[in-house]
Symmetry: C5
Subunit: 354 residues, 5 copies
Amino acid sequence: MVKTAKKKNKKASHFHSTLSSSAEKKQGKAKITIIDYNETQFQEREVPKAEDCFCFKDTSSVTWINIDGIHDVDTIEKIGKHFDLHPLVMEDILTIEQRPKMEDLESHILIIFKMFYYDERIEEIKIEQVSLIFFSNCVISFQETQGDVFDPIRERIRSAKGRIRKMGADYLAYALIDAIVDNYFIIMEKIGEKIEGMEEELVTEPTPKTLQTIHNLKRDAIFLRKSVWPLREVISGLQRTDSILIKKSTAIYLRDLYDHTIQVIDTVETVRDMVSGMLDIYLSSISNKMNEVMKVLTIIATIFIPLTFIAGVYGMNFKNMPELDWRWGYPLVWVLIISVALLMLSYFKRRKWL
Amino acid sequence: MVKTAKKKNKKASHFHSTLSSSAEKKQGKAKITIIDYNETQFQEREVPKAEDCFCFKDTSSVTWINIDGIHDVDTIEKIGKHFDLHPLVMEDILTIEQRPKMEDLESHILIIFKMFYYDERIEEIKIEQVSLIFFSNCVISFQETQGDVFDPIRERIRSAKGRIRKMGADYLAYALIDAIVDNYFIIMEKIGEKIEGMEEELVTEPTPKTLQTIHNLKRDAIFLRKSVWPLREVISGLQRTDSILIKKSTAIYLRDLYDHTIQVIDTVETVRDMVSGMLDIYLSSISNKMNEVMKVLTIIATIFIPLTFIAGVYGMNFKNMPELDWRWGYPLVWVLIISVALLMLSYFKRRKWL
Amino acid sequence: MVKTAKKKNKKASHFHSTLSSSAEKKQGKAKITIIDYNETQFQEREVPKAEDCFCFKDTSSVTWINIDGIHDVDTIEKIGKHFDLHPLVMEDILTIEQRPKMEDLESHILIIFKMFYYDERIEEIKIEQVSLIFFSNCVISFQETQGDVFDPIRERIRSAKGRIRKMGADYLAYALIDAIVDNYFIIMEKIGEKIEGMEEELVTEPTPKTLQTIHNLKRDAIFLRKSVWPLREVISGLQRTDSILIKKSTAIYLRDLYDHTIQVIDTVETVRDMVSGMLDIYLSSISNKMNEVMKVLTIIATIFIPLTFIAGVYGMNFKNMPELDWRWGYPLVWVLIISVALLMLSYFKRRKWL
Amino acid sequence: MVKTAKKKNKKASHFHSTLSSSAEKKQGKAKITIIDYNETQFQEREVPKAEDCFCFKDTSSVTWINIDGIHDVDTIEKIGKHFDLHPLVMEDILTIEQRPKMEDLESHILIIFKMFYYDERIEEIKIEQVSLIFFSNCVISFQETQGDVFDPIRERIRSAKGRIRKMGADYLAYALIDAIVDNYFIIMEKIGEKIEGMEEELVTEPTPKTLQTIHNLKRDAIFLRKSVWPLREVISGLQRTDSILIKKSTAIYLRDLYDHTIQVIDTVETVRDMVSGMLDIYLSSISNKMNEVMKVLTIIATIFIPLTFIAGVYGMNFKNMPELDWRWGYPLVWVLIISVALLMLSYFKRRKWL
Amino acid sequence: MVKTAKKKNKKASHFHSTLSSSAEKKQGKAKITIIDYNETQFQEREVPKAEDCFCFKDTSSVTWINIDGIHDVDTIEKIGKHFDLHPLVMEDILTIEQRPKMEDLESHILIIFKMFYYDERIEEIKIEQVSLIFFSNCVISFQETQGDVFDPIRERIRSAKGRIRKMGADYLAYALIDAIVDNYFIIMEKIGEKIEGMEEELVTEPTPKTLQTIHNLKRDAIFLRKSVWPLREVISGLQRTDSILIKKSTAIYLRDLYDHTIQVIDTVETVRDMVSGMLDIYLSSISNKMNEVMKVLTIIATIFIPLTFIAGVYGMNFKNMPELDWRWGYPLVWVLIISVALLMLSYFKRRKWL
């Protein structure tokens, strides 16, 4: 089964080379962190072996087991076996190109979604798959790499700030998803900044590099959209499910989460509209530029080509060219030349080319 | 929580820099205005402190508390605490990038929507978030800045004109929303004027500035659309809710309001269609212009280049060029030149380039 | 309330300046015509005052009160008061930018829709709002101006042709709507003629005027669409309503009417598709034209520029240019010139430019 | 009523001038053919008068009355009266611009749809309206002209091949519709051939004629689509109806027919997609061509214009031009000229224009 | 019936000439392979005659009969007759241009879908129709040609790996469909590779060949889409059916399969979006290139044309041209020429053309 998962990873991975998945080169063991808390108590530790987290399965306190590194298949499989996960669920967790989804499996709920983060170094949006499984008092989260998006939640648990320590595993799961959805807004802002940064240059100075940037934005928007739309189904699935794992008091938070998701979708659509509008504007701008270039060429050429012809005529070597012998021949030619030039210029003025 | 709200403001704010939110630079205390009325009595006053409006909570008359300046978080929070608003509701009110929404919270209904107004000074559409909370006999409205869109309603209350003094808080809420939806039509008219003003120039004299204007209109249409579509859900949510806060007699007004909303949506879609049509026309116009330019260049060049060649030939210095010694050589060359030119001209005439 | 209506008229009116509303300049009193009939009797008359039609309210015969001129607010209001219409209904009738709609108000049904007619004089499509209110045995129709679209129905009533005299007010209402929907087909035909008239010229001789016409057609299609789509809801609302005002025998006519409406929508969509196709073709045609122009320029320039260079070389005044003294120098240059020209021509032939 | 029908024909007819309706010039009497059969017996005959087919109305055998020529209104009306058809049904049959539809009228079912056939002579797709009315043991089909699309069915009845002689009128109706839907595939194939025939030429040699063909294909696709989409509703209406006219054993055939209809729709959509893709490709191809032309012009002009300038310089007649008297002046100029030319060529090579 | 099938093949086949169906040239007998297994036993053999597989119909073990070569109509018909398939089902299997579909026929379920495979030799995507019929303990699969996509499943059965030997015919059917859906991902990857390979060249070096490739990708995307969308209905049909043939334990696998299908659809849509984006980028790139070409031409021409004119003036042969006799005439002309050239260059620099 693990093989299947790997095979599938390879298959679809090509489509993400742009929003490039950072998991490909990972090696080494997964990092397992455990946070166990209730309203009064709290412990946090990193364990070296999968087996070390098994004892937390049946405690009455809320346990959050975070696993960084789904490339470490052995560890994941051990956990899967202990927590009695269906082979298909395991496959879903290990396959990094999953479509975001939510599945209610009675004793536990599986949620898979995409996390985006902006890599400042290479100025690119990176994508990562996060899977959540939550039982009545335990949440297991699987990440491709170690990230810092969940840090604020860890901090809130540690400091017992807000409601989180008073609520159950379902609220913890909500908080984790909310952290990731919040993260989407940051990505949106980055894209928004890029779009704004280009608006000016788009109309005034379109270059092939602008085109490249628009193309990249478009591709990003396509992938964001692909990840964000299914999220709506996921959250509304959580809302509609009659699983006993989700307490009634969490419903209002899920509704709020749903609203945020809709807003993310709205924004992605807006980005799409704006980017596709930018391409049209780009094309029009290029045409405008070309028009400018053509006008300059036309003005210069249409003024000087006839003049050159006139000069050419009096450069002919015919024996019998009376004009050449006239006293005022040369000045008259200048008069002619200047008249033609002025005529042309006034024509261009009338056509508003000047 | 206030921090969260602020954080979120920052996040998404970039997308509104065009329809630029006017709230960003606000400071100072919020302005609280209270209007309390029933069919026979009426009082209106501005209070300096949040606490001053608490006494109106349980009067039997209808109370409208209007708060201008949601940047004054302290005041808003005090009111929220007193009126027993859920923390998530508070967050919604304080976050200015909310998607329009309606939430029935049993003891009160929350409505959030966008208000547009046209800033004559800078010729730009500005966007502002307005939140309404209404209880059985009290409406609280939150605005980013002090606006005059609610003035006609204030006037109607003062002068006891129409039905407003005879109806309850739900009618007041309806009247406030209606005032804002009515305002949308004014924005649409502004955009309509701009579109019309460009139609002529679009086909006859497309310039890069035209392109800029189309681009701005497109962006405005995208944002208007984003704000207007959810409004439909809001109003239809109000219609479908079985909250006791909405009296049966208000239903017909809500239906009318819904019709207006649909009409606004229709108009936004029409604007979108027209603007996207304008871009196509623009591109075609530019192509037409370029064609004109090219024709002029081609006509001049194709007439004079061959003539210049002829003149060039007889400018050669070969010893043995019999034509140069002919008596009628020079006049014959002129005949040749004129024939070639006429030939060309007739060719252009046949191709309808002249 | 009348003020509100007027205000709203002003607001949205800008969007109709193209399909220009004919009502704007109207003045003077509304014209009221009454037709009262049953299977055996018939009377028709024009009355000067609103009050004159009140007596027909409760007759057992079917009464059709037609009012031309909704700008005469006083008359309309008097009628509204007498027939006990809700203020919002009055507002709907007086506001000429209403979206087509149908409202079942128990004692009467309100139907609002758009009528299009082609003004032969200025070759433009004009739009007019028509409102129908029908009671159990009375139909009141409100028009902006006096039109002749209802004349065939008047004629059918007068001559007792067909079923109309045997049926009730609901059939009369159906007949009026049907007359207007039938009228849509005539408008479609006009547009169809215009489109056809342009098809030929589109590919062979695209001019800026063609572009203008396409732009106008597009705008017309957008507005037609906006008026026609809601009509479907109106008719299907009439079909689904369980109002006792609509007799069972009328159902089959409504179904037929619904089919016609769908057909109108289909045709509007087809027009849209065709017009948007025409713009693409136009752009391609312009590109084709430009290509032609470019080819001519390129052929002439690339043939003569090198030749002019050759002539230029032998126009140089170097002392020591042996070719100039050759006996066959001049003829050889001509051989060279002709060879180069032929070479070029064969190159163009090979590239299929000639 | 007949008049109404005629009027409507005229109205909408303009939209079909391309997929031109073949019925317009028809005259003379309609041709009535009767096929009456059951499992054991069979008779086929052509009758001159409408009255001659009345006797078949109540036989227990299955009767197929085929009427070619709906322009012969008298005949159609006689039949309509005898078979007790509603006036609106009569109008539908006589109006050739009907939208495909199915109506269950209890004692009989009306089905109207479009038949397409390819006129080899003028290489155009022609459209024709076919109406079917079927009673419990009788099918009446109305065609605009005499066609051969039903011949295979006649043959199957004559030769008692397949199940047709064993089944009732509903199966006969199915077989007739199936014959027409099958015919759609032939039309699709014709269009498919045309598209394929153009694919090659599209990229390599786009001409204005290509554009014309694409435009025609687009128009054909629009009209095909308009006729084919409603067909789905018609067939699914037949499937869902609980009319006793349709036996249970026919259900599987209707399901198959529905699948075919969906396939036709899929193919029409594919055609649409491909044609609209072709236009984009065409535009790109034209741009490519223009680019080629421009490159040739630019290469020639930028090489020779500077050279001509050099030659021009030494064609000047200044007294004091030392170069002219140099011994190696002339050869040096040639060296200069050739160097400049080579420089230019290498520049073009570097830019990959050569 | 067989004739009908053949006829239909011919009809629609034209649309697949690109994703060319490999079945057309097939001849010879179909190859029948039988795999019969239960948890403990297993046999596999190839049989020469259709009759040889009849004995497996009623065994209690699971039997998979695979038939390669649906062109061998006789064999297929024999099997069809023995397994009691409805004539329309037979027609569906034999007609290679079927739309993917699922039909529950009580005693058996028919599933038809498309298989894609990439032909490395000719670098083209090939399409093949696969039909599955499954009874309670028997699956019959029909392929156009012998393929290797089912080999992994054969291997899993042989080696009793995974669950397959423990499950029934419905699981086998699921496994077969899953194998094909998995195969879609490989095709997607191929297309993904092609798209990526072009991204670079698209912006920097667009050639007509690029256009050809985009056109092909677009066509492939259209056909993939046409095949993949109906698959969703097929799988969801399988999920929703209440047929006893599908055991409850298979439901989770079908849900997983459904998720994969959705993912395939998502990817196809992404491909479509990206390809259509590429065309826009292509067009913009071409315009950019043209702009570059135009600039070069304009710069060279506008610099040298005026200079040539100057040289031309002093090449005139007027008797009375005082400049020609000046001592510094010639050097001054050079000064003039160089000044004009520098002026032009600085103008271009200011316009950022250089």
